[in-house]
Symmetry: C2
Subunit: 416 residues, 2 copies
C-alpha cells in the first residue's frame, strides 16, 4: 500500500519546533535578532542538529557552513532531493522567515520516518549560511557558494562591521559538530530543490488561499552610495561655505524616492542602511554611506531603473559634495522549472488546498539553487504580508498545510 507522506505531518510538532527555535536570539515577544554565525544562530543550528541526531539522520557541513541533514534513500548514490532555507534573520525580524523552510523540511524527514517510508533517492534538509546578508555581505552566501556563483575564498574573507571574518565566525560551528559528522569539500548538485517559505507579501492572506505556487523571483540589484563632504563645526561654518555630506545625501535620496514614487509601479526601491559620520550633534557630517535595494520581475524595467538611479547620483556629484555609486549585486529575474511548478500545483490539488501561482517579491536561496538544478518554491500566508519585522506572524494550520504539500512533492521526486 502506498503511504502518502503528508499524512505524517504533525501540525503541533511543527509549531512547537518554531516556538523552540524562537528562543534563539529572541528580542521581544515574537521578535528575533539572529544574525548569521552569531552565538544565537549557531545555537539555533545546534538545536536542529540535536533533533536530527535523535532521529538518526546524517549530518554534514560544507566549507561555507551550510548544514545538510540527510535521510538516506535506497539508492544513496543517486542525486538527492533537497529542501531547506536559512536560520539567520534581519536585525529585528520574526520567527518564520527562513526558519519555516528549515523546519517544514525537517518535519517532512520526520514524517517519512514515522510512516516508515523508504524513498529511492535520499531526502535532505539544508540550512544555508547567511541568507540575509546583514552581518556579512553579500546575502545568499551559502547557497551562492554551493552553486558556484560566489567564490568560497572571497566569501571567507567577508567581514562584519566589527571586523570578524566569515572564516573566523565559522569556527563557532565546531561547538555543535561531532566527530562523526561529514566535512564536505564538494557537494554534488541535488536532483531537485524545493523551498518552503512564508510569502512575505499580502496576496495569499487577502485572497484566502492556503498555498502559493511560486513561478519565479523578481530581479534584484544592490548598490552602495557614498557621499563625501567636509566636516566642520556646526556653530561656525556659514551656510554658503559648507560641504555638508548629510545635506547632499538627503537631497539626493529625496530625488531618488521621487523617481520611484508611483504607487502603480511595480518597482521596489528601498534605502535600508544609511550611516552618517562622524555623527557628533555639533559636527557637520563629512561622510554618508547608504544602500539601495532595487527590484522588479522584468529585466528590462530593472535596467531602466538602474539607469535612472545612476543618473540621479551622477547629477548630484560635486554639488558640492562628491557622490558615487557601486553596484554590489545584480541578479536577473528567476523563472522556476515548469515541471516543478506543475508538480506543486498537482499535489496542492490532490490535498484539496486552494492555491494560486505568483512570483516572489523577495530573494531566496532557491534563486541560487535554480542555477544548479530544477527548482521550485511553496509559499504559505503570513499576517498582513509583514516580514523583516518583529510583527511578522503566521498561523499553525497554514504552516502545516504548506508542509503537507512539501512532503508529497518531495516524496514524489524521491521516488523518481
Amino acid at each position: 500500500m502506498y503511504k502518502t507522506a503528508s499524512t505524517g505531518v504533525q501540525a503541533e510538532r511543527l509549531w512547537s519546533r518554531h516556538v523552540q527555535m524562537s528562543q534563539f536570539g529572541r528580542i521581544c515577544d515574537g521578535g528575533v535578532n539572529r544574525q548569521a554565525l552569531t552565538r544565537e544562530e549557531v545555537d539555533a543550528r545546534g538545536q536542529l542538529l540535536g533533533w536530527a541526531r535523535e532521529r538518526g539522520f546524517r549530518v554534514a557541513v560544507d566549507a561555507i557552513g551550510n548544514l545538510f541533514i540527510t535521510r538516506a534513500g535506497r539508492e544513496p548514490n543517486l542525486s538527492s532531493i533537497m529542501t531547506g532555507s536559512h536560520l539567520d534573520t534581519q536585525p529585528a525580524a520574526g520567527n518564520f522567515d527562513g526558519a519555516y523552510g528549515v523546519l517544514a523540511g525537517f518535519e517532512v524527514l520526520e514524517a517519512l520516518s514515522d510512516l516508515g517510508i523508504t524513498t529511492r533517492r535520499s531526502v535532505q534538509t539544508t540550512v544555508w549560511t547567511n541568507e540575509e546578508g546583514v552581518r556579512f555581505a553579500p546575502g545568499l552566501m551559502g547557497s551562492g557558494v554551493f552553486t558556484g556563483s560566489l567564490a568560497l575564498t572571497q566569501m571567507l574573507q567577508s567581514r562584519a562591521p566589527d571586523g570578524v571574518s566569515v572564516a573566523e565566525a565559522l569556527t563557532g560551528l565546531e561547538r555543535i559538530l561531532r566527530p562523526g559528522d561529514e566535512r564536505l569539500q564538494h557537494v554534488p548538485a541535488p536532483h531537485t530543490y524545493i523551498e518552503a517559505h512564508i510569502e512575505q507579501g499580502p496576496v495569499l492572506e487577502e485572497r484566502g488561499v492556503a498555498v502559493g505556487v511560486v513561478t519565479g523571483i523578481q530581479g534584484i540589484r544592490l548598490y552602495e552610495v557614498e557621499v563625501t563632504g567636509e566636516e566642520g563645526h556646526a556653530g561656525t561654518v556659514p551656510v554658503g561655505a559648507r560641504k555638508d555630506a548629510l545635506r547632499a545625501a538627503v537631497r539626493l535620496s529625496n530625488s531618488l524616492y521621487a523617481e520611484f514614487a508611483d504607487p502603480g509601479e511595480e518597482t521596489r526601491f528601498t534605502i535600508g542602511r544609511f550611516t552618517v559620520a562622524p555623527g557628533g550633534r555639533s559636527t557637520i557630517p563629512g561622510r554618508v554611506e547608504f544602500s539601495i535595494d532595487l527590484r522588479h520581475p522584468e529585466l528590462s524595467v530593472l535596467e531602466i531603473a538602474e539607469r535612472k538611479t545612476i543618473d540621479t547620483i551622477d547629477e548630484c556629484n560635486g554639488r558640492p559634495c562628491a557622490a558615487s555609486v557601486t553596484r554590489v549585486l545584480a541578479r536577473k529575474p528567476t523563472y522556476f522549472a515548469p515541471h516543478v511548478i506543475e508538480l506543486i500545483s498537482a499535489e496542492s490539488r490532490r490535498l484539496e488546498l486552494p492555491h494560486l501561482h505568483l512570483p516572489s517579491g523577495a530573494g531566496h536561496d532557491a534563486m541560487m539553487l535554480s542555477d544548479a538544478c530544477p527548482t521550485g518554491m511553496i509559499f504559505v500566508p503570513c499576517k498582513e504580508g509583514i516580514s523583516h519585522s518583529v510583527r511578522e506572524s503566521a498561523r499553525k494550520e497554514d504552516l502545516a498545510a504548506g508542509a503537507r504539500v512539501l512532503a508529497n512533492v518531495l516524496q514524489k521526486l524521491a521516488m523518481q
Copy 2:
C-alpha cells in the same frame, strides 16, 4: 620692578605640550578622537597632572570630575582668577579645540613661576568635564554643574550609547589622582574667568589678525527628532503600502534644510547625528532619530527659527509616519562682561598685537561660567576656520601670542 607675565611665555614649550597631548586618542596625523572620560581622555588629564605636580601646583577635583590646577596667591582666601577649557574632543577632531585653552592656561602658571611672580589672588587652570557632549549628553556638563545650571545627580546618571554612566566613567579618574589631591564638594565661584580658544571660524585668519577679543556667544538650541514608521521587506511591500521612516525623515530634513538655505542668513542649522533602524539593506526602515543644532546671536531670530523647525516637523507628522521633536537644550545668547572685553583689548594693544572684537559661533565653557562671574574669551586664528575635523590646525606663533595676552590679563586680574 614690575615683571610682565607674558615675557615668561615660551612658544616652544607651549607647542611641544600640544604635540605631546595629541598622542592621547590620536587617530591619524593631526587627528584626535578623545571623548569625555574615555581611557584616552583620562590619560591626557593624567599627563597634565604630571606636569602640574612637577611644578608643585595644587591639584583638586570636584564631583563631576572637573580638575583644578592652582598656583596659590598671597591671599588664598580671596576668590581666584580662573582660566581653562576642556580636553575631550569630537569623534574625529583636531588637537587645538579645548586643549589650547587648557595648555595656554598652564603655560601662564608656568610663566608666573619661572618669573617668580607672586600674585595677590590664586590663579587656576581648569579642565572641564565633557564639553563636547558626544559620549554623554549634554555637553558643557562640567562647567554646567560647576555653575549650577545642570543638576549633578542627573548628570551622573547620563549614559553613553554603550550603557556606561557618567558616574561609572568618573571612577576612571582615580587612576590619575593621588591621596594628597583635594576632593571638592563645593567650589566657590571665581573672581573672573578667561578662556583662550581657537576661533573655529575664518575671520581672524582672513584679516591677518592675531587676537580675537570675544564679545559673546551665539544662542544655541538642540533638538532630537524621532520618525516612526513600519519595518517591512524591501522586496515585497508595494510603494503605496509603505510606512518608510527613512523616506519620511529624508523628506522632512530636506524641507528643514530648505528653510535655512539662505547664505545671507546668519542662522546655523545642522543635522549632525542621524541614525536609521534596523539598518538591514533589505529592510524598510521603521525608525529614524536625528539631532538638530540651531544657533543665532540674537534671541528673537533663534525663536523664529525654532518655530519654523517645529512647524515643519508637525506638518510631516502622520504623513504617513509619526514625527515628533524634543528640545534637549536651550541657551540664550551670552554677552561677556564689558570691563573684561576692555581689559583683553588693552593688553593686546600693549603687546602691539593686531586684534578685533567678534562674537563666538561655537559654544564654550565660558558660556556657563558667565552665569557665575565676569567672563571673557581670547580667540587665536586657526587654519581656514576648520575645527571638529582632523584637518583642524593652528600656528605656533599664534598660540603663543594668545597665551601672552592671557598671561597679562590673568596677572592684572590676580593683582586686584
